[in-house]
């Protein structure tokens, strides 16, 4: 039960003693014109359109500047991803640009790695040092001994720098730790990934199924907007989640599944839809291969069979299967986003893809649309230097046949000397706090200790920055140009990121930092442009766009193309068979299961809980938890635990607890949220808390880090993803 304002009253009274006493106590009101409300004047003297970087969605924003500072951020109504509306983080961008803890000057390390002891130096000194060290490294160990870890749109300049330098070791946790398994599962089935923004036609869906996705807490702006529209229009909602999420609170059916058993449910749903002939036979006959094999595969996967594993009543499995089938093809089993859970994640996301295929929802209204984009030709650059070395991101002798991007944890592991195909000796880390973003933080630390050189380019002094030899303080997204953004989407568009204010302190834009490093390393052939405006103007012109219009409006719309069969699209599938592959010959040829198998996963032992983690609408990753503006509404995480289990353990709601995993890793103390909203066998944390970086003066010591507890992973044999929901913890009360 939340406190009401009334209950706060007494608390507030003490703080409110001194106040201004108005004139004219004895009179009735006057002075303030009753017909004219005072304007708080937050609109500012200038409004600049740009796009957001508070998460990866990249919504169009309007930044209001008052007295030279970014004072307020609102949605850009012209931008298709925001439609003029922002999530909390988008509004809270002011709290990033004005964060007092920002990195202000270039730094060089003076203490041991991770000690966060630095001396400020000039840009000249810092850049000379980085360029010199990287050139030495290339001479000594070859260019492939350098790796880039990155997250965020500003990384593009550094990716160019890396390719020019001669390394292919460009890694991002957004693949193996996040949505890589999903993209592989969908690509194997439909010949296309789901992408970002996901190509879900949520708005027109008549039945939405969320499997572990907590849309609404996962505040992907456009999706949540469409989700609300769909619910308002009467769409059915089925939510599969061990936790009573916000979405579960809106669902027709909440299925509180035993964690790790989603595949059993998905197979049973297929069984019902196939055995009751509820599938789209015409669509499958035209577009799919492998229906007979699939039928045989799920023949014995009855709801009764699934009940044993999932704990979900067979009747509800049947009811929900019929519900989603009755809405087909406007029926959407959402693909999720971070799908790195249990190590069989490609198979699970493939089961989701197959289920969508049975309902005929690919390239259909209310299912998945086929996106189009504004074509912007690449800026003409010379060919990259030849790359003799493959990324060393898989252990010797191991191949993940469908890995389509570099595995970030694999590059991390290859940085521990003598363990990988060859050693990675130096890291450039751009905008990703690897201590919190990669599993097995102790291994990340071990790799960091062994590095010959590390440079961090960041905005805030996150934990990872504390390990750098040189720290280059980047300007925030509100203070810089970045490359044009024109993703595949329902409504094609091209958007511009442009500086709203001058970089604060002695921070510099990423493009400038990359170019200055290129200049010092003799790589200017790949940075032939004078400044970002000339670069952007040339790219825009090549696409038939005007940089001036982009500057004025922030976005230009392209022509919309048919994205569903209802709109006249004739779907094609970029698979070996040219069809939807229910049965995957590709997987069979690689020695992997061609139809998704159910694998039982270990469950918590007595006294243990499975550690689950996710999002709150207010935060993305660890980097927003230091944001004072956002923290006005969410300033620490809590450990969710079933109220009954808490009672059994003698723990009280609101008390401090410590979380300890099987390997002895600890997190907390953190406040206990004893609630009916979660299964007895699991606990839940909002990701991004539990910082210990000295420089994060606000976030430091708040809440508990889930990342610290992810010491175990289950590797996906298909593409090398790290399943991270496989850690078991005990909860101990903290006595004051």
């Amino acid at each position: 039960m939340p406190l009401t304002r009334r209950q706060f009253l007494e608390v507030g009274a003490a703080a409110a003693g001194a106040g201004s006493v108005g004139s004219g106590l004895l009179d009735n009101w006057w002075g303030m014109d009753p017909s004219h409300a005072p304007d708080p004047e937050t609109d500012g003297e200038k409004v600049v359109p740009t796009f957001c970087e508070m998460c990866f969605w990249k919504c169009g924003v309007l930044a209001h500047v008052k007295d030279g500072r970014v004072n307020k951020i609102t949605g850009n109504p012209k931008h298709p991803l925001s439609g003029g509306k922002l999530c909390p983080r988008g509004i809270g961008g002011t709290g990033l640009v004005n964060d007092p803890d920002r990195l202000r000057r270039p730094l060089v390390r003076t203490g041991p790695r991770g000690s966060e002891q630095f001396s400020p130096v000039s840009w000249e000194t810092a850049l000379d040092e980085v360029a010199g060290r990287l050139l030495d490294l290339r001479d000594k160990h070859g260019p492939e001994s350098l790796a880039l870890f990155s997250h965020g749109y500003g990384a593009s300049w550094f990716k160019t720098l890396m390719h020019a330098y001669g390394t292919d070791n460009l890694a991002a946790p957004s693949y193996a730790q996040c949505r890589g398994s999903r993209e592989t599962g969908f690509s194997l089935t439909f010949g296309a990934p789901v992408g970002s923004p996901e190509t879900t036609d949520l708005r027109n869906s008549r039945c939405i199924v969320l499997v572990g996705s907590h849309l609404g807490e996962n505040m992907h702006n456009t999706q949540v907007q469409e989700f609300a529209d769909a619910l308002d229009a009467g769409a059915r909602l089925i939510v599969v989640d061990p936790r009573f999420s916000t979405a579960a609170g809106k669902a027709d059916h909440w299925l509180p599944i035993r964690p790790g058993t989603d595949l059993a449910l998905l197979l049973a749903w297929m069984h019902v839809i196939l055995s009751e002939r509820l599938y789209d036979a015409e669509y499958l006959a035209e577009h799919a291969v492998g229906l007979d094999e699939l039928k045989a595969w799920v023949a014995d996967k009855t709801p009764e069979w699934a009940f044993v594993h999932t704990g979900l009543e067979p009747d509800r499995i049947r009811t929900t299967a019929r519900m989603m089938a009755s809405a087909r093809p406007a029926s959407l089993i959402h693909p999720g986003r971070r799908t790195a859970w249990y190590g069989d994640d490609v198979q699970r996301t493939r089961a989701i893809a197959i289920l969508n295929a049975l309902l005929g929802s690919w390239a259909r209204h209310g299912g998945f649309y086929v996106p189009s984009s504004v074509a912007i030709p690449k800026f003409p650059l010379p060919a990259w230097p030849s790359h003799p070395a493959e990324p060393p991101d898989m252990p010797p002798g191991v191949v993940y046949p469908f890995a389509s991007k570099v595995l970030a944890h694999g590059i991390r592991d290859a940085s521990i000397p003598g363990t990988g195909p060859y050693d990675i000796k130096a890291w450039m880390v751009y905008g990703t706090n690897l201590i919190h973003a990669l599993p097995q933080p102790e291994r990340t630390r071990e790799a960091l200790e062994a590095l010959e050189f590390m440079v961090a380019i960041d905005v805030l002094p996150a934990e990872i920055v504390g390990f750098a030899d040189v720290v280059l303080p980047e300007a925030t997204y509100l203070e810089r140009y970045d490359d044009l953004h024109a993703p595949p989407f329902r409504q094609p568009f091209a958007a511009l990121r442009q500086p709203v204010v001058e970089p604060m302190y002695d921070s510099r834009p990423g493009w400038w930092i990359a170019k200055e490093l290129a200049r010092r390393m003799g790589l200017m052939d790949w940075f032939p442009w004078k400044d970002p405006e000339s670069y952007l103007a040339q790219r825009a012109e090549a696409a038939g766009l005007s940089l001036e219009v982009l500057k004025r409006d922030g976005v230009v719309l392209g022509e919309r193309e048919p994205g569903t069969t209802e709109e006249g699209l004739i779907p094609t599938f970029d698979t070996p068979s040219g069809k939807i592959e229910l049965f995957s010959q590709q997987l069979a040829d690689a020695g992997l299961a061609p139809l998704p198998p159910f694998t039982p996963h270990e469950q918590p032992g007595p006294g243990e809980f499975r550690l689950l983690f996710g999002r709150t609408p207010t935060h993305t990753f660890g980097r927003s938890t230091n944001n004072r503006v956002l923290s006005e509404v969410y300033d620490t995480n809590q450990l969710w635990m079933h109220a009954g289990r808490a009672r059994e353990l003698g723990l009280e709601a609101g008390q401090e607890v410590r979380i300890v995993n099987r390997d002895g890793a600890e997190a907390g103390p953190v406040l206990l949220k004893a609630t009916e909203r979660i299964r007895q066998d699991s606990v839940f944390l909002v990701h991004g808390y539990g910082h210990d970086a000295i420089g994060l003066t606000f976030a430091r010591g708040r809440g508990a880090s889930d990342a610290a507890l992810v010491t175990q992973t289950a590797i996906d044999p298909v593409m090398g993803g790290t399943g991270m929901n496989v850690n078991f913890v005990r909860i101990e009360g903290v006595t004051a």
């Binding site: 106040g19 003029g84 308002d232």
Partner: protein, 179 residues
């Protein structure tokens, strides 16, 4: 007929993201540690039979505003469209209005005066929606003129089930929670 401003809050659409709180804070330059808008999430039942309701809350600009009646200095007054405003220059910070408000919609500004939601009357007067409404990603907030039978607000209030805060208080709030 003059305007009678009101708001509907659609609990079906709302996901409790609190963008409304932050949009208000930014628009109205709200002092850190305070807010005019807040979100209440209520979950009832025992696992696994649970129901949830989320409400974005603020001053309901009551038709019979007790806060104005009890204000000894006349600082609280009814402005255009029935919006209750506080004149900070007249407010002594006595908090009578806070006791008078059945909904806890007021707080004491660090400068010592009572403060509350204004329905962003400064925006409304230039034809814009209040900041929380204009920004709401789920479209859960609908602002309008209750005296305008053509308005979306009136249509919603006439066609949907709704409730208000503290209906027994007799203050007749103009903030309707659509069920």
């Amino acid at each position: 007929m003059s305007a009678r401003y009101g708001m509907a809050m659609d609990t079906r659409r709302c996901v409790g993201c609190k963008a409304c709180v932050l949009a208000c804070n930014a628009e109205n330059d709200i002092h850190p540690g305070h807010s005019r808008v807040w979100v209440e999430e209520t979950v009832r039942g025992r696992f696994p039979n649970l129901t949830a309701n989320i409400e974005s809350k603020r001053c309901g600009q009551c038709a019979t505003p007790t806060c104005v009646t009890v204000c000894p200095t006349g600082a609280s007054f009814v402005a255009e469209g029935g919006v209750v405003l506080v004149d900070p220059d007249k407010c002594t910070g006595c908090k009578a209005c806070m006791v008078g408000c059945p909904n806890g919609a007021r707080y004491v500004h660090p400068d010592g005066h009572a403060d509350k939601c204004t329905f962003c009357l400064h925006r409304v007067q230039r034809g814009d929606d209040p900041a929380c409404v204009a920004n709401c990603p789920t479209g859960a907030l609908i602002f309008g003129d209750l005296n305008d039978p053509e308005s979306e607000l009136v249509e919603l209030v006439e066609t949907r089930l709704w409730h208000v805060d503290e209906p027994d208080s007799g203050t007749h709030p103009n903030l309707f929670y659509l069920e």
